[in-house]
Subunit: 193 residues, 2 copies
């Protein structure tokens, strides 16, 4: 387990550049293309540098993932703190720039235990945050509409936002405006302003 190889500082700019390169390779060529060589080349470094900053390639991957979800968490927290949290929550998820990267990590979670664990606990954490903020909002459903719960609404928002993002990444855009319009109509009903 514990190798004797020396490791570089965690605050190094080169270390960050390697994590940037992980994201770039995953976006462009997929997680299957992640190798010490591809990552280092993208960062303009020799592949052996990966092993100066990280014990294994997996450790680099985990570090990149933790940085990625920390950024996502910050965006969610900011959205939920505003005066129209549901609209802001949708805005975060309607942004397609991270959809491809998110899916690569989610796909990876199916096959990498360390990524899977972090994905599950992060997902539960985000959901708790959303529920705490949105329960006050969707607390009194109209009679006959009890099925519309905060959880189900946040699930719908995150799911539809992700799939719209993925589709635009591969070149499908037909009907997206229509779908966005329906979602926005729905959340306008729940959170009028």
């Amino acid at each position: 387990m514990a190798t004797k190889r020396r490791l570089g500082s965690e605050s190094s700019a080169t270390r960050s550049a390697l994590m940037d390169a992980v994201e770039a390779v995953m976006r462009e060529d997929g997680y299957g293309a992640l190798t010490a060589r591809s990552v280092a080349e993208r960062a303009g470094l020799k592949h052996q540098l990966v092993y100066y900053y990280f014990q294994t390639l997996d450790d680099l991957l985990i570090a990149a993932y933790e940085r990625h979800i920390a950024g996502y968490l910050a965006r969610i927290e900011e959205a939920l703190a505003g005066e129209r949290p549901l609209h802001a929550f949708w805005s975060v998820h309607a942004n397609p720039v991270n959809a491809t990267l998110n899916m690569e990590f989610l796909s990876l979670a199916n096959h990498n235990e360390a990524i899977r664990e972090r994905t599950v606990s992060f997902g539960e954490h985000v959901r708790r945050l959303g529920l705490a903020r949105l329960e006050a909002l969707i607390r009194r459903p109209a009679p006959g509409m009890e099925a519309i719960t905060p959880f189900a609404v946040t699930m719908a928002i995150t799911s539809i936002g992700s799939v719209l993002g993925l589709e635009s990444a591969i070149g499908i855009s037909g009907g997206h405006a229509e779908t966005r319009a329906m979602i926005e109509w729905c959340i306008d009903q729940l959170e009028p302003g």
Copy 2:
């Protein structure tokens, strides 16, 4: 392009076994683990057999993908032909068994041009099928609910079904029953029975 290497029959049982093995490897270890050796070993064959039945590994992948989407298309067509097409359409997408495999192929579509092209045209085809059948159903929205269009509804169903399936694959199940209940309530409104 055209190699001189001889190829086995397309009706061979061994050829099918190789395609089965592609699906098994993708489900269990992800597309990144797909190699001629891993696929052949899963099928109980030598890795060189891959190159007797397919010109390249990519050709095997494309054949497996085409067989996979043909099965999905058959399920969709059967669902839409019934007497409650919207409910049946949801049943197909609420089934989580293919969620992981679907995502692996979708992730692959981001980085493999042949898979991407097939995914885009297949997605558009399914959507046309759904719209033709559902427009008669959701053709007269109640006043003030014009935003609920057949397209947006099918998009919501496919998106939420996929994400529920992915989450259960990695071990998240909290709130899923609640989400399913909301979807079922919604489609009951659109297609009463």
